[in-house]
Amino acid sequence: MADLSRPSDHFDSDQPVVQPRLGFVGYLRFFWRQLTSMRTALFLLLLLAIAAIPGSLVPQVSSDPNGVVQYKLEYPDLSKVLDFLQVFTTYSSVWFSAIYLLLFVSLIGCVIPRTKHHLVALLAKPPKTPARLERLAGFTSETSDADAATAVETARDVLRKQGYRVEQYGDSVSAERGYLRETGNLVFHTALIGVLVTVGIGGGFGYTGQKVVVEGKSFVNTLGGYDSFNPGRFFTEAALQPFSLHLDKFTAVYEDKNFNAYGQAIDYTASVTTALRGAAPEKQQIKVNSPLEIGGTQVYLLGNGYAPVLTIRDPDGNIVWSQPTPFLPQDAKLTSLGVIKIPDGLSEQLGMIGFLYPTTIPLQSGALASSHPDLLDPTVTLEVYTGDLGLDDGVARNAYNLDLTNLTQIAGRKAESPTIELGLGDRVDLPGGIGSIELTAIPRFASLDIHHDPSQVWVLVFAILVLGGLLTSLFIPRRRVWVKVVPVKGGGIRLEYAGLARGEDPNLAAAVTEIAQKHADQLSLRLKP
């Protein structure tokens, strides 16, 4: 029963656990054997499952950076410990990486000898027929009038037709089938390595980047074109496919019949014109579940909102500023928050914090709110500050954050002049005669994720191999079957049938019985004429 292709502590292998010979090499070998044992694999698998838990309890830098910031504010002391333990980056932490790398080393150490052994087994003949079959699975015994040679010949035919590899030993036939089971198992484990390698290394050649594009504006795929950009480890600028994308129109459809979901978004479509260098421009659409594919790069529609165009003029009426500013949506009704900084052109630096209410309703408190995400009755409110925007010291500033340290409010709750309220097309003077402001238009913006990952298809290929290997190895039985012809004293023969499972094989007994039946049928056919 010993199955040499399996690790020594595989349940059906009978190898004794060998004591290590002392000495350095002996210890190394001992250690290697421990690492590649089934027990270690199991231990590491269970450890991996446990190690993955903390990352789901604590926000992760990779998937939820704002959550991490908030968490750290909320639990400053605990966060220090968690930070030290790399819990905010669990899945790239030293300890998590150590576990899965050990697991995969163990896996490689396990797969290689098994592959070698399996290749040998594939070429080998089925083993000799055991002396006694009675104790084996599905043992069946029948008598027959046929002669031994015919019986053996027929047995070979029956078994071969069922996909067995057969070998004759004297008056018996030894047959084996289901080599695909072990093949599947090896494909499965090897493909797992493939997935890890393609994800870990292949992913390094790609990049992801984000860009907010306002209707009527364009994006060009160069490093400078991105709002934020995350290159893989082996990224070079050559990986950036030269293409441009113009957002012609962004359409949002909201539910207006079903009262339970009134105003819920049911469709977003970004209509774009794209141009790959050297090719004619093309009109295309991007939707949430159907990214745009251009030059080996995918463009995903991940978010949208409004980008009000505010026009600011100096006291003489010269336009100082007129451009769309993306406002960040704050709720499902697209109440949005934006920050505008105007360092030059006016007598003082000007900063504004604005709210957009696409469909304005006054609350009882006098504050405004939005009751629908569509632009049915938009209002923009602005609190205006003058002073020093703090842009000159060269430190990078968050575009969505206004540093109030050196600013004075001139319109708003803390100033003499009230918060400025603008409907579409409204124009009002700024306090202190520094100029005027107008809400010129409210185009939409689309926030796009742009990805390039040349290894992605390989990950998929390996994932499919994982699934295929799994199916073959779990559902193809590997078994040996023997048919033996024993002469009976006083003439005639006795036929003996038995099988041996190699791995999980619940239908073995039935299969042996069926073979015995088929064999008997064939024999009687041959005997008839």
């Binding site: 399996r6 502590d9 595989h10 349940f11 059906d12 089934m38 027990r39 199991l42 698998l45 269970l46 991996l48 499952a49 993955a52 838990i53 990352g55 789901s56 926000p59 992760q60 990779s62 998937s63 939820d64 899945y91 104790r135 084996l136 699975a137 599905g138 994800v199 992801t208 539910e255 079903n258 339970n260 979901a261 819920q264 978004a265 049911i266 469709d267 977003y268 939707k287 949430v288 579940n289 159907s290 990214p291 995918q298 995903y300 994720d449 990805h451 992605q456 998929l460 994932a463 994982v466 699934l467 799994l470 199916l471 779990l474 041996l500 499972a501 999980e504 094989d505 619940p506 007994a509």
Partner: protein
């Protein structure tokens, strides 16, 4: 129109729950009566222990159905009949809900509970054609009843259209296959629990008498394994399909989102289970515990993770 369909759907769920309750009672009475001197001869199959050959072979040679009586006792038959009726109502409830919404009925937690429990009970009914596992009825129907109870009272939401992120055929495939996998894991866990009880009894502990009428711990283990590997294949597919969908909708195939993490954890636990069964010293009760832990993680993933963990899969509708 939608309103009418929704109310018929609810009517069907409530009726199904009422009938499941009776079925549950019948299943329980059946278990209780099995403790009484068995009216039908229901002997556990003889197992030749020791005497050469390996345990594996002995098990395989005794792979006959444990329940010798073809139909089984009366209460069990009634329970199965009720279950079938309740299940048909349950399935109609899901179908009506789907018709009302004009899409698959598994886009929020209420709908997912409704449909997934129907699939679990469906898997329970279907496996009977393969093996007599009716003794799991009390467990499976009890589980479905609790889930439906919580689903209808705590998770209920009105029919609303799909948000753009869910408008994908992957919603149909990914979620359906995940539910199928859950069904097999549920049955695997039920068998594993029985196996643990049986192992205690075989170890000489005082145990409920009905256990004597059930297959041996060893045979239960094989049954559990065969059910769970099917679940595992479905789960592997769910994981891959989920990654493909995430790539379409969120622009990356894997991002360690909380739901992704838990789906991965569950997959690893069951990979551990399969390994445990092949590791010396882990066969038997230890691997059964892993199967049960795995199923608990599935339930945890659906309830606690959906409701209390932050992540991109915020589709509970609550």
């Amino acid at each position: 129109m939608t309103e009418t369909l929704v109310s018929y759907s609810l009517l069907a769920v409530y009726s199904a729950m009422a009938i499941y309750t009776f079925a549950f009672i019948m299943f329980t009475i059946d278990l209780a009566r099995r403790s009484a001197p068995a009216p039908v001869a229901l002997k556990a199959p003889p197992v030749a222990v020791g005497k050469g050959g390996t345990a594996l072979l002995d098990r395989l040679t005794t792979d006959a159905p444990a329940d010798a009586a073809p139909k089984g006792p009366r209460f069990l038959r009634v329970a199965m009949g009720l279950t079938v009726i309740a299940w048909l109502l349950h399935v109609s409830a899901a179908v009506l809900r789907g018709l009302a919404a004009g899409r698959v009925p598994w886009a929020n937690m209420f709908e997912f509970t409704l449909t997934a429990t129907a699939i679990i009970v469906g898997v329970f009914l279907a496996v009977q054609f393969w093996q007599d596992l009716r003794f799991l009825g009390a467990f499976i129907i009890g589980f479905a009843l609790i889930a439906l109870g919580i689903g209808t009272t705590n998770f209920y939401v009105d029919v609303v259209p799909l948000p753009p992120a869910l408008q994908s055929y992957w919603l149909v495939i990914h979620v359906f296959v995940a539910s199928l996998g859950t069904g097999f894991f549920a049955i695997g866990a039920a068998i594993s629990i029985t196996q643990l009880l049986q192992a205690r009894r075989e170890g000489g502990a005082r145990s409920p008498k009905f256990l004597a009428t059930l297959p041996t711990a060893e045979k239960l283990e094989v049954l559990a394994y065969r059910v769970i590997v099917v679940g595992f294949v479905f789960w592997t597919f769910t994981l891959i399909a989920g990654a493909i969908w995430a790539e379409h909708a969120w622009g990356r195939y894997w991002g360690w989102d909380t739901k992704e993490v838990w789906t991965f954890i569950i997959w690893v636990i069951f990979a551990g289970y399969i390994h445990a069964r092949a590791t010396r010293g882990w066969r038997g009760s230890r691997s059964a515990v892993l199967a049960i832990v795995g199923f608990c993680a599935v339930v945890f993933n659906f309830t606690i993770v959906n409701l209390f963990f932050k992540g991109l899969h915020a589709y509970s509708g609550l």
